[in-house]
Amino acid sequence: MGRLTLTLIVEQVMDAATITSWMHGIDTSVRAERDHLVQLDAAIGDGDHGINMVRGFEAVVRALDADTGSPPGRLLVVAGRTLVSTVGGASGPLWGSALRSAGRVLGDEATFDGAQLADLLAAALASVKDLGTASLGDKTMVDALEPAVETLRSKIAAGEPVAQAVDEAATAAEAGMRATIPLQARKGRASYLGERSVGHQDPGATSTALILRALQRAVSSKP
């Protein structure tokens, strides 16, 4: 039974459709959570995070729908560029650079496997940390992304099925998101509030958890 599963997993490859499905999934969920993200950002930021994410992923979906035939890495680069060029704010360059870096990991390959998925998310995390200079515990998107990347990498390395590993990574992102509540922000606008940032969930960590959950759905919907 374990062996049978393993066999199926090894055969699960992801491709351009996975990326497109992922981006559509993000678009859908940031739309649904727009007002919640705005509320979270209003409490410790400037109330635009939901609007920024919706604007960005609307544009990403439009860009990808216009792009037929590109390999998955290329689609991620296009998505990243689109975020950089439409979002603004802190989240635009951060997620934009993240997806660009992620896409570059895949080069022009037509498909990718679980290990590559872990690598590309790791590249995204590295890019966010490099540009934003935030560390774990600073109450930013890093607090959701880093545990997700670590979980994904170790589960894949341990031979878990991709869908299951990504599910656990998304769960780790959600835990990281909730773990931002008691933290005092040290990066981004929320840091201006000092101690008043304590007790609120970080909007960027929240949308990051949505992004990971959308990835899980995109990966699971594959046959």
Binding site: A43, D46, V84, G92, G194
Partner: protein, 340 residues
């Protein structure tokens, strides 16, 4: 999900269009000074690029009007890059602006210290460098309400931005080279400190409701310019008590020389009328003189705002002869104008 525009006390057609429509109006009103590049969403000085002149651009979220578009013109900015309300512009805007104004002598980016502004300007400066344009960037971080430490994103850029744009704009207009103009922005930033307070929040058009809730009779101390809550909330006292806090916060950090000549900038956040701003100026002027400083120049009005927020900020800039001369240099923009 559609925002009920009619539930806001605002003149709007569509929250998604408010920035673009306002920029179109600005350009229609001041066609002699500037033009609106719709495709790139930037405001460019009518006569740009000026060959041999160092150019200055700035940008940031909208909602702070007249900053920055109102400061484009002779003796101040060459271009402004307005993002959506309270959202940093995207690098493509800054790149387009940089290319539109570069007269060969280099371009200075004046960046308010917010993560979004800093990151987007950084990406743009990299792109501009790739295209062979000499770009320098100066980050403005004058807000004493925020500790500059490992535990924050650093101090916010607020009132000093207006002063830096005016003064460095004069340096550029009167022939300063790239290093000189860049250093002038830095000098203003080094010698200026700001502290802001709010008596209300404000309503970003796309959100449709106030960012935070501040009951009447309370005050937020240490706010920025994005309708965000400040460092602490207190019962609102008399104006002179509020001014005491503002002056003390600014002076204790500025550490100006006794007898120093200063420029005093009393700024309204958008919803506080001039009647009150001048009352504040009177109190500030008195207290600065008591503290041994000499206010020799001032600016009173709503120049860097947070939509219709009721509130005010105080910026004090320690002057020297050169800064005075540059301040007095003619300027002709939609929002600041003298000698021209």
């Amino acid at each position: 999900m559609a925002v009920e525009t009619t539930q806001m006390r605002k003149f709007l057609n569509d929250p998604a269009m408010v920035v673009k429509e306002s920029l179109a109006g600005l350009a229609a009103a001041h066609a002699d000074l500037l033009r609106y590049d719709v495709a790139n969403q930037i405001i460019v000085r009518r006569d740009a690029p000026k060959k041999g002149k160092v150019a200055l651009i700035s940008g940031g979220g909208s909602g702070h009007e007249p900053l920055h578009g109102g400061f484009v013109g002779r003796g101040m900015l060459d271009a402004a890059c307005p993002g959506e309300v309270f959202t940093s512009p995207v690098p493509g805007q800054m790149l387009a602006a940089t290319k539109a104004v570069d007269g060969g002598a280099g371009v200075v980016h004046i960046v308010k210290n917010y993560t979004g502004d800093v990151l987007n300007f950084k990406l743009a400066a990299e792109d501009a460098a790739d295209e062979g344009i000499k770009v320098t960037s100066v980050v403005i971080d004058d807000d004493v309400a925020v500790q500059d430490s490992l535990y924050t994103a650093g101090r916010r850029g607020v009132g000093a931005t207006v002063l830096a744009e005016k003064i460095a704009g004069a340096a550029a207009e009167t022939g300063g080279d790239l290093a000189k103009v860049t250093d002038t922005v830095k000098l203003v930033n080094d010698r200026a400190r700001t502290f802001g307070v709010a008596l209300s929040s404000c309503v970003p058009p796309a959100a449709g409701k106030a960012i935070f809730d501040l009951p009447e009779g309370e005050i937020e101390f240490g706010i920025g310019i994005h309708g965000e809550p400040g460092r602490r909330r207190a019962k609102l006292g008399r104006a002179n008590e509020v001014v005491d806090v503002m002056v003390e916060a600014v002076l204790s950090d500025l550490k100006a020389k006794r007898g120093a000549k200063v420029l005093v900038f009393v700024n309204g956040m958008g919803g506080t009328p001039l009647l009150e701003l001048y009352l504040i100026y009177g109190e500030v002027d008195k207290k600065l003189r008591e503290a041994g400083l000499e206010p020799v120049r001032n600016l009173v009005g709503s120049y860097i705002t947070s939509l219709e927020m009721a509130g005010a900020s105080l910026t004090v800039l320690e002057l020297n002869d050169e800064l005075i001369r540059l301040w007095d240099t003619p300027v002709h923009t939609a929002a600041l104008r003298w000698g021209a």
